[in-house]
């Protein structure tokens, strides 16, 4: 140990067997491995197996191993429709998030204002408040007798109250609200990495603010933007609470479909198949987003 130079690699010193016994530390991995194998890995494998069994009446599956459930999922217009709706809702939500978030992220990335801290607090706060409570807040706003309908009716813009809840519109509004802070925070990191000098250079060379944005900032933020885009999309398609609450059990996306199959219809085989598909999509998209993020240097 005395031979260690101050420049010695941080990592090799951490693993220096003399220091605290690297082998001793290794045992500390056991609890998590046991825990996750028993309560996570084996149950996931069980789910995979279940998705390969044929449906045999409510709450029962047959003995055979088959890919029929997957075939049915990708050919049956009902299941395919749910998958399609999930993707569309995801795309709509992230697109709205992106448009809303970009200017805010830009301001946060560039501002030196003393209000920055307060602004960050307001943006992060909704993230840490219970999802059911946040969704509940939309009821007096979007409901038939809620704020928006009251405003539109009393100004005479509409004569009949709009239906903004218990349908896809309500789901999209609440999901946008849920994931907007994530999008803003992801974009702040991206924009902060683009040097202010580049912007100034563009301005000095005669570009207006709009041209600077479209020809300098936006192209430079594209790699990080894709990473944020993918991660928020994944969260949107994985969400259950918000589509279930705001859709009033009428909006079927992958998550609400799985819950319905497992808890009401008791078609465990199809429920497991849908769950496997959703899980695979989420995992693939997460890995893709992490790769993009690494490439973008975030």
């Amino acid at each position: 140990m005395m031979s260690d130079t101050p420049a010695a690699d941080h990592k090799t010193r951490l693993q220096d067997p003399d220091l605290a016994g690297a082998w001793g530390w290794s045992w500390f991995i056991l609890p998590i491995v046991l825990f996750l194998v028993l309560f996570f890995l084996l149950p996931v494998l069980n789910l995979a197996e279940l998705s390969l069994r044929p449906h045999a009446g409510p709450g029962a599956v047959g003995e055979a191993l088959t890919l029929a459930n997957y075939m049915r999922f990708v050919t049956d217009p009902f299941y395919l429709g749910v998958l399609f709706d999930t993707a569309v809702i995801g795309l709509v939500v992230i697109s709205i998030c992106l448009v809303l978030a970009y200017p805010v992220a830009y301001v946060l990335a560039r501002t030196k204002s003393r209000f920055r801290g307060a602004l960050i607090f307001i943006i992060i706060a909704p993230l840490l408040i219970s999802t059911v409570v946040r969704n509940l807040g939309w009821f007096p706003i979007l409901g038939g007798a809620g704020l928006i309908n009251w405003a539109l009716l009393s100004t005479g813009l509409i004569t009949e109250p709009l239906r903004l809840m218990n349908n896809t519109a309500g789901v999209i509004i609440a999901l946008t609200h849920t994931f907007l802070p994530f999008m803003i925070l992801a974009l702040v990191t991206v924009i902060q990495r683009i040097g202010v000098e580049l912007e100034e250079a563009a301005r000095n060379l005669g570009a207006g603010p709009i041209e600077t944005f479209f020809r300098v900032i936006l192209p430079l933020s594209r790699p990080g933007l894709m990473a944020g885009y993918l991660i928020v999309f994944t969260s949107v398609i994985s969400a259950f609470t918000t589509p279930a609450m705001m859709g009033g059990r009428r909006v079927l996306v992958m998550s609400t479909l799985i819950e319905q199959q497992m808890r009401s219809v008791l078609n465990y085989a199809m429920g497991a198949t849908a769950a496997m598909l959703l899980m695979t999509m989420a995992a693939v998209l997460t890995v893709a987003s992490l790769r993009r993020a690494r490439k973008a240097g975030i």
């Binding site: 605290a20 500390f28 998590i32 825990f35 840490l128 802070p181």
Partner: protein, 267 residues
């Protein structure tokens, strides 16, 4: 001109973000029906008339969140120490495995937990569904990675020469760890633990799949109440949750800084 547009946009987004939270608070003081706007008048009545049915779920949610956070903190911290300092083969894969529940939608964690209770019943004839223990373990599955990630992040920035200095000054390895290293890692681990607590307190799908009539958590109670009847005192309960969350956030902001806190949470 551009500046004004930008600031206007920021203001608009802030209004959008705080709108539903404000609505919860305003509706909780409304003397009219909770979903009608504008409120005809204001009253404190809902707070004194909070449906007592909400108290057992609140208690259960706190018990489950504390239990899951404790398991996650111990198991997750151990894992992060082993991953950082141990001589483990395939460390990269192992850390991906430890973080993998984060890649799985919590609904799917609920489904596999539900199947697990069925399997335990089929194999051992023991009923584990609808028990507090099942909820705590189910929540621990998605809580553990939060602590692992936070503990790994804080260790990556930890200067090992501090521990070496303690050893050179005559401390035993155990003393050096507990009196120098652990206190320095605590803020990071605490951030992960708070994340785990909030995730547990927020969860609906896992509690829905593992719980039953005896184990209804507060989010599940709110979730199911609005499906059948809209209990007017629900807005008062929700306002109290908002107040509690904001207080917690102010404390976290003071101690670690909210931005840094979120940074350790979602690397």
């Amino acid at each position: 001109m551009t500046r004004w547009l930008l600031n206007g946009w920021v203001a608009l987004v802030i209004v959008f973000l705080v709108l539903p939270l404000t609505a919860v608070v305003v509706a909780s003081f409304s003397s009219g029906p909770p979903l009608a706007f504008p409120p005809p008048g204001f009253t404190l009545a809902w707070y004194s008339e909070i449906n007592p049915d909400f108290y057992p779920p609140l208690r259960l949610s706190l018990i489950v969140a504390v239990g899951a956070t404790m398991i996650a903190t111990v198991v997750g911290t151990c894992a992060a120490l082993a991953l950082q300092r141990g001589a483990l083969p395939g460390k990269q894969l192992l850390s991906i495995f430890c973080l993998s529940p984060l890649m799985v939608p919590t609904l799917v964690i609920g489904v596999i937990g539900f199947r697990f209770t069925l399997a335990v019943w089929d194999t051992f004839g023991i009923s584990t569904a609808d028990t507090v223990a099942a909820l705590i373990i189910g929540h621990s599955v998605f809580c553990v990675p939060f602590v692992v990630r936070a503990a790994l992040a804080v260790q990556a920035n930890y200067d090992m020469s501090l521990e070496e200095a303690a050893l050179n000054l005559g401390a035993s390895p155990v003393q050096a760890f507990f009196r120098v290293t652990l206190p320095l890692l605590t803020p990071g681990i605490a951030a992960g633990a708070i994340f785990a607590f909030l995730a547990s307190f927020d969860d609906v799908p896992v509690a829905l799949f593992l719980g039953g009539s005896d184990t209804v958590t507060l989010p599940v109670k709110i979730f199911t109440t609005i499906e059948f009847s809209f209990d007017a005192s629900i807005m008062a309960v929700a306002t109290l949750i908002v107040a509690g969350s904001v207080i917690l956030m102010l404390i976290v902001d003071r101690l670690i800084g909210l931005e840094a806190f979120l940074g350790t949470g979602r690397n």
